[in-house]
Each structure stands twice: as C-alpha cells, then as structure tokens.
C-alpha cells in the first residue's frame, strides 16, 4: 500500500513537542523531506523523555538535560523550527493555518497533531487545588514537588496504576512514609491481572508502603491552603505532608475537536494515521486508531515512536499502515516489569515461575496468547514479544512448564 508522497517542499507543522512530535520531525528529515518543518511545543523544555520522571529523575539520579532527546542545536542543524513555550490555540482548516496563542499564524500543507495527554486532576471541590497536591506528567510537575521529597515526610499517592506505584517506589527508596490509596478493589485493576497486582502488592508491602485498596478519597483537607490530611470514604483520616495524584490521563483533543475533526476516545485516525481531514494526521497518546475489530488509544513510548514514524512514512509515500505492536515497561525498586502485547479481553492467565526469582504471567483469550507481564524475566519478554507479533500461541500448559525452553517456543 502506498500513499501519494507529498511535494518534498511542502510545509509541515507539528503541534505538540513530546515523544511523538519529536519522532515525526526527525523521521521526516531522515526520509528526506526538504520543506519547512515547524514543531510547536507548549512546554519550555526541548522535547524530553517522560518515563524517567517517575523513576530515575524523581530519584535524583539523572539531571534534566539528560532527559532531552537531543540538545537544542540539533533542531537548528536539521532545520526543524522548534517553537518552545508556544501554544497552538486554533486550527483553521479552510485557510490551512495554525493560530498560536501569541497571535502568530503558521501556514501548513500537512499538519500533524501530537498533543499527548494531560493528567486527570483531583477536583477543587475535594481539595484538589490545595498547595501540596501534585501530578506526574511534566518536568515542571516533578521540579515543583522535588523539594518535598525529604526523609520521614508523609506522602499520599492517589491511584494504584503504574505511575502511582513508581512514585511510591521512589518515595519509599528516599525514606518517605508512603500510603497509596486505590479506589478500585485492587491496584492495577485496569491494566493487569490479579496475579500481577498481587506481585506488586507484596513488593510494596515488603518495602513498608501502606497500600489501601478499595479506598476512595472523599476529600483532602488543609489549613492555610496547604494540604494536611486526606479523608477516605468510610471516615478514616490519613495525615499527609503532600499528595501525588496518579489517577489517569485524558487525551488532548480540544484543538482537534474545535476544528471539527472526528473524536472517538482520542483524535480518531485511520490505518494510515490520518484524521477525518486528509491533510491532518495524529499520533501518540492523543490518537485513537483501528485495532482488530474496534479502536484503541495507547499511552506508551513505543506507540508514540512507531505511530509517529508511520505518519512520517505516510507523508513521504512509503509503506504507511500502522501496525501496533504494544510494549511497555515499569521499574519499581529492583523489579523491572516488561509487558508485551495488550491484555484487554483476556479470560485466563498462565503462570511461569522463572529460575532466578523472575516471574511471568501469560494472558490468554481462550487459546490465543494476548499479552505477557514479565517481572525480572527479560528473556520471557523478548520471546513473548516475538510470539505475539507473529500471532503465535503456545499453550498455557507448555509455557507454565518450567522445563520448557524459552527458545524452543520460537522454533
């Protein structure tokens, strides 16, 4: 399948200077696009990696400049007009221009939307706007909370998803007193099986983190505008010094929506990453795309990179169908979790106990292998990724048998 390549001198504008926006621009240049490329980013920093924000950067192990994908000079060298601290405020599809909040307008021949997602915040009515309440999305969020990470401080983490649990692990490592509350009956409810949840619950228990499941926040309470305690549904009160909300994200679709593009749990794109306007593409956390019989939106680095590359290929006329191969990782204490595939829709889970303390859970729908969570089991992850991408499903009995050689599964 080929798309018509665009005029190599076409003007391309990219809104959102995160992982997907950065990758799209770089790939366009790698593929030989010669026309002007403008990358518009609301944040003050050059495009950077987010995963370390809840890991090494929060721990204080790496400096800010090491998060940047490239130094600023790179954008000049590759003629990518990077506009930082610059907000795109409207898209005029008839005139094919993007309006910036500062009053400037930029004309485009093709537009790429990589606006990402923003964290859900705790409502002001329950104290979400008190001083000392943070979220974990941007460098600025982490820089704002960094000074609170002092030994002995009490931190409450609202939300037991991967980001909340990573923040809990860093906090515990730094000697804070950590409580995690999860409104659902268990942590990782939306993204993982009960077995994986139990594995991480035991890990956090062992590190002294208080994990409360089925514990919903009623309100944060403060004095002098600063958060002091959290009242849970049922009446118990947790005293806190600060709070981190990790309660999920919402895709940034407003700009696209106002421009009349189709929205469906994200900016809706087709197999070639095109939105309902053929001159506008979207990729990364903001985009929902066809997957099997439905449509999904992924929040992961791998997806942002591969989808943005597919956009660049589409624009330059080479093979362009985006074929998602989901993968993800999470680091907590000394455990590296690696996930291959997407577990949504699973109905049974097989367990494989590794030799050197590793563990993996294999998600099946019937006999079809959908995904694998591998904890300190990189070899399982690598094998599972290949199996899933090839659409191969070794039986649950075979994978659970410790005598089964991993490499044999590939042959």
């Amino acid at each position: 399948m080929r798309d018509e390549p665009i005029d190599p001198h076409a003007r391309i504008v990219v809104i959102g200077a995160g992982q997907a926006g950065f990758t799209a621009c770089t790939k366009l240049r790698d593929l030989g696009h010669q026309g002007p490329i403008t990358l518009i980013g609301e944040e003050a920093h050059p495009p950077y990696q987010r995963p370390p924000l809840s890991k090494g950067y929060l721990l204080g192990e790496i400096t800010e400049d090491r998060l940047y994908f490239r130094p600023l000079s790179f954008y000049e060298e590759r003629s990518i007009d990077l506009r930082l601290s610059s907000i795109a405020s409207a898209i005029d599809r008839d005139r094919k221009v993007v309006a910036l909040a500062d009053g400037n307008v930029i004309a485009y021949d093709r537009l790429i939307l990589t606006t990402g997602a923003r964290p859900r915040t705790l409502p002001a009515t329950i104290g979400g706007n008190l001083d000392g309440v943070f979220c974990v999305r941007n460098l600025a969020d982490i820089n704002a909370m960094a000074e609170r990470f002092l030994e002995g401080r009490r931190v409450l983490i609202v939300g037991g998803g991967y980001i909340g649990l990573e923040a809990a692990a860093v906090s515990a490592k730094l000697g804070l007193r950590v409580t995690v509350i999860e409104a659902a009956l268990r942590i990782l409810q939306r993204v993982a099986c009960p077995e994986t949840a139990a594995y991480f619950r035991a890990l956090h228990d062992e590190k002294g983190v208080t994990l409360l499941e089925g514990a919903a926040l009623e309100a944060l309470e403060g004095d002098d505008g600063h958060v002091r305690s959290a009242r849970l549904v049922g009446g118990s009160v947790v005293p806190v010094d600060f709070v981190i909300a990790g309660v999920g994200v919402v895709p940034n679709v407003e700009l696209a929506e106002a421009a009349g593009l189709t929205i469906d749990n994200g900016i809706a794109v087709d197999e070639t990453c095109r939105t309902s306007d053929p001159d506008i593409y979207a990729a990364g956390d903001c985009a929902s795309f066809p997957w099997r019989t439905g449509r999904i939106r992924l929040e992961s680095v791998g997806n942002a990179i591969e989808q943005a590359e597919a956009v660049a290929r589409s624009l330059t006329g080479t093979i362009s169908h985006y074929d998602a191969k989901p993968w993800f990782w999470s680091d907590q204490y000394d455990v590296k979790l690696q996930i291959a595939g997407l577990s949504a829709g699973y109905d049974n889970v097989a367990t494989r106990v590794g030799s050197a303390g590793g563990m993996s859970y294999w998600y099946y729908r019937g006999k079809e292998l959908l995904a694998v969570d591998a904890m300190n089991e990189p070899r399982v992850y690598m094998v599972a990724k290949r199996l899933i991408e090839a659409g191969r499903s070794p039986s649950a009995a075979v994978v659970s048998d410790p005598a089964t050689e991993l490499k044999a599964l590939l042959s």
Partner: protein, 106 residues
C-alpha cells in the same frame, strides 16, 4: 573528557567527547549516530541500542549484567562482543573506546 568512537554500519566514524557517567548510548543518540534507536531511553527494556565493543576494549568494558545479558540473548546477530550501549558508562579509563553499530537492531 574521554573520547569515544562509534562506527556506524556504513563505516562512518563518529568521534565524540563524552562526559564521564553518561552512557555510550546517550552520546551516540545525541550525536545522531544512525542505527542506535534506544527506544526505551536507557531503561534496559528494549534492546535497540545494541553495539559490538571493539576487540581491544572488551576486557576494559567488561561483561553485560544479568538483565542486559538476557535482553541481548534475543537481539539480532549477537556476538561475544555484544553489549547494550545504554549499559556502558563512560569513564576516564574508557578514553579511546571504539564500538560498532550492528546491521540492524531487531
């Protein structure tokens, strides 16, 4: 600052002044060496930063750690000289280090 050389698959040599403590991968990426994808940004989670350490340097650079070794086990065209470049830390003792980028990452 130690100088390291990363040899791209077309033979182009990238000579880089590398800050001690940074990884070989970071230096290669910052200098846009083709063929180092480093999708996970150094988390030892993707195996797309695979390099071969030049023979003269293998002993100084040392062997991969356990997680790295397991990831490498399934990389493309693994050899005894294979390392994940995000796991090699630049140090003064590695001044002059030479690593080579493989044909492809996966």
């Amino acid at each position: 600052m130690p100088k390291i050389s990363v040899v791209a698959k077309d033979g182009t040599v990238f000579e880089i002044q590398a800050e001690p403590g940074t990884s070989v991968m970071e230096n290669a990426v910052r200098n846009s060496v083709p063929g180092i994808e480093a999708e996970c940004g150094g988390a030892c989670a993707c195996a797309t930063c695979h390099v071969y350490v030049d023979e003269a340097w293998q002993e100084k650079v040392g062997l991969p750690g356990p997680i790295e070794a397991d990831m490498l086990d399934f990389a493309y065209d693994v050899r005894p000289a294979s390392r994940l470049s995000c796991q090699i830390k630049v140090a003064d003792g590695l001044d002059g280090l030479v690593v080579l980028v493989p044909e492809r990452q996966s």
